[in-house]
Symmetry: C3
Subunit: 199 residues, 3 copies
């Protein structure tokens, strides 16, 4: 192309299109990078609940919220730690050999969801019996029904391995189909969650 | 336009403007779509507090945080469930007829905020009396003042209808101006919140 | 420039480049503004934990999660309020003069982390002794080790000044290197956090 000769209209339009594309390319790359930076700062449609308590009423609240979150379309995970581990105990499972401290803990902590007490008005188990009776009378889902529902809704249930280790609880004593992990596992879910609760 | 004749400068600028607009249109649509996708992953300036506990100290903490959140410009909602429902009871309200279980629950749970006990050092109500006395001496807002402040600041207070049903509590027994809803109502607020707490 | 004379190719390309730049400028400003709006709605890599409870097991859980959050790369802050303040008490610190109510509170609340009880199975301190023994046997970090680790990981520990005031606790009675603040301080960290918990 002779740089001094007048350009033909087709040439001009080609040049225009090329120039626009060139400048846009740079701009697009910059915007994509900035968008990616902002996206890094966002969250997934996810909810994460730490179930620390082993009280029937609190565990119930945990499952009501977890199934509610799953129903709202959130990927939901529950992390059972400390006393909350008791909610995952299989009924009548024998478990491995325990040392004296572990035996004392096993005796003093609930054997399965059916022996969980309430955080208030416990009266040696009366609170839990009453709460269960009132929920039944009112046709409110029981803890066991809610747990089954949570599984159907793909709520992830993670047993805290540090707590299992501390309390001498083996996988054989816990329900089937659980995930296992420590605080790092929990945190990986929590950082990308819209809702994070400690119960 | 003769495609072979040289273009006049005005024609050229028109061509440039048209080409830029054409290419930008496509790009703008793409960026708007990507921005909308990222925006979907963000949160509102909102806070959501589940008040599960009916302990004076915990309910107090709930209202301190709720009014603090409202003062920081967050749309704040509190969801009162299980024992937390007691914090919403109207003083001296009669309520509807109750069955035996409901009567037992009514007797055993606090009648209004003024009868809430503390989670620690309760000593048959001494803890609450002391906590209230110390707060008064130090001119710290009382629970009732904080509740009034929360209302002025448009903190939304939601009574959990499932808990009302389970415990046989009617709307007549609760404060005026409340919202009512279940876990789905709570979750709708929670998913768009920056701060989500369970107290 | 004669607006009717044909433009030289170099002139044309210059004009095209300038016109594209001009149109893009407006678009860029608009996109930057929209991006900034979306960015306002995002969160930092941060976690905020309210430690309301003074129970050994709950404070332990708080520090396990806080160090886990810090290990996951989150700026982590813990806000110690109400009974949680006890976890920050210096061992054997005298403190300032106290009125009668403050003295009663001081007698009834733990003197330092070493006297914290557990939320369950307390049996006049037996629960805490057992929990500490089991953790030692299993070589799980003690509360004091976790607190030291949290400091090393730059976990910010904030003592709630309202609680200090209410309970008559002075800075001299608390550990060194703490931050001090009220609910507004907490909220400033919480609104930009991915993970917000109340323990």
């Amino acid at each position: 192309m002779n740089v001094n000769a007048p350009m033909a209209p087709a040439e001009i339009q080609g040049a225009v299109a090329a120039e626009v594309e060139r400048q846009l390319k740079t701009f697009r790359d910059e915007m994509e990078r900035k968008l990616a930076e902002v996206r890094e700062r966002t969250v997934d449609d996810a909810a994460t609940i730490v179930v620390f308590s082993g009280d029937l009423d609190k565990v119930l609240a945990g499952f009501v919220i977890a199934t509610g979150a799953a129903a709202a379309g959130l990927q939901t995970s529950m992390f059972f730690t400390f006393w909350g581990l008791a909610a995952l105990k299989k009924k009548g499972a024998a478990g491995g050999p325990k040392n004296i401290m572990e035996k004392m803990f096993a005796v003093m902590t609930p054997k399965s969801t059916e022996s969980l007490g309430t955080s208030k008005l416990n009266f040696f188990g009366m609170g839990a019996v009453m709460l269960r009776k009132m929920m039944k009378d009112k046709q409110i889902a029981t803890l066991e029904e809610l747990m089954a529902l949570a599984r159907e809704m793909d709520v992830k249930m993670i047993a805290c391995t540090m707590s299992m280790d501390a309390m001498g609880v083996s996988k054989e004593e816990l329900l089937d189909g659980l995930s296992y992990g420590g605080v790092a596992t929990y945190m990986a879910d929590a950082v990308r969650s819209r809702v994070t609760l400690f119960i």
